[in-house]
Structure formats: structure tokens, C-alpha cells
Amino acid sequence: MSLVKRLWIVVGLIILASVLAAGIINIRSAQRYLENDIEVKNLDTATALAISISQSATDAMTVELLVNSQFDLGHYQRIDYLAPDGKLLLRRERNPDSPSAPAWFMRLFPIEPAAGVAVIQSGWKQLGSIQLHSDPSFAYDSLWRSTWVLAELFLLGGACIGLLGMVYIRRELRPLHRVVEQAEALAERRYLEIQPPRTREFRLIIEAMNRLTHKTKSLLSDESARLDKLKTEHEDDPHTGFMVREVFLRKVEDEIEREDTDEQGLLLQVHVANLEELNREIGRLQADRLIGLLAQQVRQALAAQPRVCCGRLGASDFGILLPGLTDGTRLLQQLHASILQAEQGHLLHLSYGVACYGPQSGMPELLSACDQSLTVASADGPVLPMPESVMSARSATDWQRILQVALHQHEFHLARYPVRGRNNSDLPTEALARIRSSVCGETLVAGAFLPWARRQGLVGQVDLEILTQALASVDRHGHDICINLGYESVRDAGQLDRIAEVLTQHKSQATHLYFDVAEDIAFEYPESFHRFCGRILPLGCKVGVEHLDHHVGHLARLHGLGLQYVKLSRALVKDVGQERAAQTLLRGLCTIAHTMGMQVIAEGVSRSEDAALLFELGFDGVAGAAVTTGGAPTP
């Protein structure tokens, strides 16, 4: 039973008790008052009667006559006439009216007034006494009626007091909801800080929970920072801040394998031809400084490019991954110009190479293609023949048709990839959107159609279509299912409203729905992501962050959002078997995520021995070829 109900019952009992007590005292007093009143009246009437008889009666006969006449004309219940020695000479009595008050009431509050007695005499001679009784039934009636009035008044008053009491209790207990909310959040490892209320007890609880929250938060931040440092040391080249070779190659591989990213892109190679000479001529330190400058310029020149990443392939080679780009001529020229501008001594002799990748590209081929295309930059800048695009080119019009038809004909479907938990349990299946296009007769993956959908402002509609598919799938199979949402769906308030509306309409299915949000969206648009979680989570859905890699060190910022899981990018978990430092990093990550109440899932695990190791490190689930039976998605 809730506290409010208990308090309400107590208030009710107190009011009832006080009303009853007041009522009984009241009735009791009224009863005494009535009794007393009748007694006085009896006495007065008896005296008046006795005085009048004494003036005119001379013998008992006359007295009897007078008593009779008085009784017959008056409203007495009984008049007794007694001789001086106490013997009853005459009794006149009438049956009392039966009162309207019930018998139990009369038993509970009896009105028994004493008789009025007065002596009679004639001259000096005593003629005896008269005793006069009144009918108490009218008094009972009066008492009964007033008891009713009283009960009504008290009931009304009690109800008013009760109402006021309830309002007061509600007002006083309002902070309790916040206490409960915070405690529940704590239980779900969401650490909320709340403004302490005025009520002392509530304030103490909330302050204690705030302290706990604060402590946990700072602990998490410290741990994250430590991991970030570890990751940087482990993954970044100290002179350039670029990824070291292995990490970069993993990243490229991830980009190629993932089907929700751009299908094609460019791999750019920058080669410093004279690094060894420079080391000899200007010293290693100066040469390193120069390389650092180069890296800085590269970063600046590419700042506007989406999802770009840079790696140091060797001492004098740098790789730049440009997803979604097919013609890099202009970019390359910009890059070269800004490097030259910064490095005014023209000490660096630079060569550039470029290769195009597609979904089927293999790493060794890609790297050698890049290497073979290396061309020395002339004085006018790099002149580089751009490689043929590996994908069949479709025009914007083609894409528009494909998308429109897909939306109208419901050609979207979900390719489902299992996610394996500990002890071979099943975690929510990951569902990737595809189009079985009737226009071109091909199955198109998200990485292919999503950039075009974005250009044509259709991502919102596509996401809604996917959501509908997912809900239908839940309805059919009853399995938990994970879907991806474009950043438009997270950032656009109108789109969020539409999603919430769909989810509200499918309340029971919505609880089986998991939303994967990419780390770029989660960390680069924290307000939007916060609003998204606040809107979606109460509807029963779960939310997690996927492709977590770059922002691993900021994990503590996800704090308080109520996320269900994080999915670590394959780039982060790929070579876990070979690298001890990676294991330390991942173990620490799992600890932090678990402290925050989140599950940790590894993406793109291809070897089953890696999966076993990951579980050992504390992971809660793995996805990828290692768990996909036969490597093919279940339709």
C-alpha cells in the first residue's frame, strides 16, 4: 500500500475518532441538559400545583378533585397524590407517546428525570404531597433529531478536514516522487543529480543519493580518462597523432565491411620521399617536427570531410580514408597547397597515391593499388589520375526512382544478424535495412541508398518505413530486434514526434525494440541524443550506442541517459587476441560500462576464439561472422 494511502487512512481514523468523541460528549451533555430541564420543570409545576391546591383545598377529597382536573386538562404523564404518611391515595397516568427515536438510542442515552414533588397543606394541617412525572418521549425525539443534525455537520466538517488533509499530504509528499525516481534511476545505474527538496528527511535521502551519484560520476570520468590515455598511447602515433598502421588498417577494413556506411570511397596515400635524407640533414628531431606539421595541415585541410580518418602506414607513409568520395582531385590539390604553405622551406618531397574501394575490396589489393599509383607532386601540385569508380554509377534520378518506388511499394526489408550473449544465449537480433529494388532488380544495402536518401531528404520516411517493418517483425516473431536510425531521426524534433507516435500505437511491440545510435550522433549532438532517449525510453524501447570507437574515452558522458548497451566497433576488438594493451583497454571499458548499467557488445567478431576471449574480458555479447551461422544473414 502506498504511503499516501496509509497516511490517508490514519487521517481518516483520527477524524473519525475525534468526530465520534465530540459527538458522544455533545449528545451526553444534551442528554443531561434535557434531563435537568425536565426535572426543574417538574419541580416548578409540582410546586405551583401544590401552592394552588393549598390555597383552596380543605380535605383529601378536594385535593383529589383538583389533581384530577389538573391532570385531565394538563399534559402530564403521571400525577400521584400521597397521604402525609406516604400512602398512595390517587394515581392518574396516561401511556407515554412512543418516541420516534429508536430503542437502542434511548438505551444508550437514557433521559430519566426525577419527579417533581411538593407538599400540600390546608391551614396548618398537612394533606400530603403530590408527585409529578413528565413524558420524556419528546425529549428523546429532540435529542435524536439534534443527534442527526450533529452527525451531518460533523460528517461535512470531517469531509472538509479530510479533503484539506489529503491536499496537504499530497503537497508534502510531492518530493517523494523525485526520491523514488532517483532511487529507481540508481537501481538502473542511471546516476541523476536532483535539487534537494525542503522536507528534511527527503532532503537527506536525496543529498545522500546525490553524493553517491557525484562520486560515481567522478569515478567514471577518471576511469574513462585513464582509458582514453591508454587508447591514445596504444593507437596513436606520437608524432602525428594519426592512428598507427594496424589500427588504421582495421579501421579501413571496418569501413569496407560495414554495410551501413558508404559503399565506396577513396584511400589516399601521402609519401614523404626524402625522410631519410631529412633525418640526416636536419636531425631527427627537426624531421619529426616537420612530419608533425604535415599531419596538422592534413587534419586542417580535411576537417570538413565526413568520417575521414588518417593513419601512419609507415615512417614516411600516411594513409587517409575518405568514405563516400569518388573524385579527390580538388581535395588533393587543397591538401598539397596547404602543406606547402605551412612548410615554407620546401624541404618535403611529397608523392601522392590514390585508390578507390568498394564493398568487395580486399586490403592487400587496395594498399598495393594505392602504392602503385604514387606520383611525385610537381611544382603545380599533384596531378593524379583518379581511379575508375568500382561501383556501377547510377544517376540521381535513378536513385530517386528507386527510393520512391521502394517507399511506395514497401520494398524495404530487414536482414537480421544474430548477436550471441554469454552461455550461447541470444541477444536482440541486429536488423539492417535493405531495398529489394524492383527498379534495378538488385538488393541495395543501407550504405548504398542512405547517402542518396539523405541528399533527397527522405531519411525520415525511410526510418519510419524501417520502424514499421521492425514492429511488424516483432509482431510476427516476438523476438527482440535492433534497428539503426539515421541522425535525422535523432536530431529532428518533428521526426522524433512521428517515431514516438508510431511507438505509442504499438505499445506491446515497442518493448521488444532496440535502437542503435551511432557514436557520432550520440557524442557530437548530446542535447539531441538526450532528448531522444528521454522521449523513446519511457515508451518501453531500449537505446544503445553502436560503432563505439573514437569516443570510447568519453563513455562517462553517456551517464544518466539510461542506455541499455554499447556496441564496440570492430576496429577496437579486431586483433584482441594479439595485443595485450587492447585487452587491458577492453577490460577497463567493460568495467566502466557495467558500472553505468550498460551491456557491452563487440561488433564484427570474425574468429570464434576472439569471441571466447572477449567474453572472458567481460563482454556481454558478440556479433559478426563468429556467431553468424554460415556467415549469411537470416532473412
Binding site: R32, Y33, V40, L43, A50, Q121, G123, W124, Q126, S146
Partner: protein
């Protein structure tokens, strides 16, 4: 129909309950305490007077009723002066208690009657034989009648009473007092409040002069 829901009856009910406790708590005659009260309230002289009265008071079982009424009648007729209420109490009509009458050393006819009545009860004379009686007094046929009160003693319920009168030093049977015509008589026999058995009355609003003086007599440990 009686109207009991008047303003202040709550207070009245509580007061009467309180009063009842007080009355019941002091409802037994205690002459030592009466004398103490006399001393504390009026001083040694009155206390001494009360002492004399106590010495005079016949014991309950010693002598006959006649001797008792003789002795008590004489004591009060000799020791108390007749003074009008208007002079003594600055009130039209005031019924004084035994102690008040002894303290003043004076009183009017009612005060004499009350003092004698209370003393006789203390001496063990049954209440049923005593009547406080309003009489019409006409000393001479041509004189104007005046209102008076005497104490009547009935040896037999139906017999002729003896008259204890402050205006006549001697106790005479009623037949020898042609100047007196009885109008009405009463005593405290049937007053329900005696013995504390019934509820207390509402003392502020509705107490008769007779009941008031009875209550005060009780409060002063006389009855």
C-alpha cells in the same frame, strides 16, 4: 418543546459537571471545618461564636425533639438580632447561611428559620417533621398584614405543628398563634439534589433561592 441548543450550554454542561464534583466532594457536615472556615473568613470572634453554638448544639441521640427545638430556638432568638436584608446585605431579599448569619450576628426571618432548620437537622431532628412555612402575619385585626416566615415542627404528620418564630420568644402550638395564617410550606426532603444522586443543575441559570442556600450550606460543611 425544550430548546437546549442555546449559546453557552456546552460551557454550562462542563461547569455543572465541575460543580457536581465540588458539591459531592464537600457534601458531608463537618463542624470542625465549619469552625476553621469561620476563623479564616471572619476572624477569631466569629469562630468563638461558632464554638459557643457548637457547645449549645444538642447531641443527636441525647435529648428529645422538644428539648432540642427549645434549646436551639432560644439560642438564635437571643443571640441574633433582627435586621432587614436591605440594611444587612444591601439586597431586597437575601437568604443567608447559618455561618453568614452567625458572622453578622443578625438576620431577618428567613435567616432565623434557615439557621434553626440547619441546626435542628444537625441535632438529629428528622427532616420530615420540619417545614419552612410562609405565613401571613396580622398582629392586630386593624394592623396591615405582613409577610413572614416561621419554622413549623410537626410531631405527627397530620397533627398540629409547633411554631418557632423569631418574633415570639416562646414556642407555641399553631392554634395559639391566631396572628399567623399559613400560606405555603416546604422542606428539602424531595429535592433531588440531596445525597448527590442526581445530576447537578445548571448553577448559573436556574437555581431557586432555596436550592441556592442549601448548596451554600453544603459548601460550608453545615449540611
Amino acid at each position: 418543546m425544550m430548546r437546549w441548543r442555546r449559546s453557552g450550554w456546552w460551557m454550562g454542561a462542563w461547569l455543572s459537571a465541575l460543580c457536581l464534583v465540588v458539591l459531592v466532594g464537600t457534601a458531608a457536615p463537618n463542624l470542625d471545618r465549619l469552625q476553621q472556615l469561620a476563623k479564616s473568613r471572619y476572624g477569631d470572634e466569629v469562630a468563638h461564636f461558632v464554638g459557643e453554638w457548637r457547645a449549645m448544639l444538642p447531641s443527636a441521640d441525647g435529648s428529645s425533639d422538644l428539648q432540642k427545638i427549645e434549646r436551639i430556638n432560644r439560642f438564635f432568638n437571643q443571640r441574633i438580632r433582627w435586621v432587614e436584608d436591605a440594611v444587612l446585605w444591601q439586597q431586597d431579599d437575601y437568604w443567608a447561611t447559618l455561618l453568614e448569619t452567625m458572622a453578622k450576628g443578625a438576620g431577618d426571618c428567613e435567616d432565623f428559620v434557615i439557621a434553626k432548620y440547619a441546626s435542628l437537622l444537625l441535632a438529629g431532628v428528622p427532616e420530615s417533621k420540619l417545614r419552612l412555612t410562609y405565613v401571613r402575619r396580622q398582629p392586630r385585626p386593624d394592623a396591615p398584614p405582613e409577610a413572614h416566615m416561621i419554622l413549623a415542627y410537626y410531631a405527627e404528620p397530620a397533627g398540629e405543628p409547633l411554631i418557632l418564630d423569631n418574633l415570639d420568644a416562646d414556642i407555641k402550638p399553631a392554634s395559639q398563634r391566631p396572628d399567623l395564617t399559613p400560606v405555603y410550606s416546604f422542606n428539602a426532603t424531595h429535592l433531588w439534589f440531596r445525597g448527590g444522586q442526581a445530576s447537578g443543575s445548571d448553577p448559573t441559570a436556574r437555581i431557586s433561592r432555596w436550592r441556592d442556600v442549601l448548596a451554600r450550606l453544603q459548601a460550608e460543611f453545615t449540611l
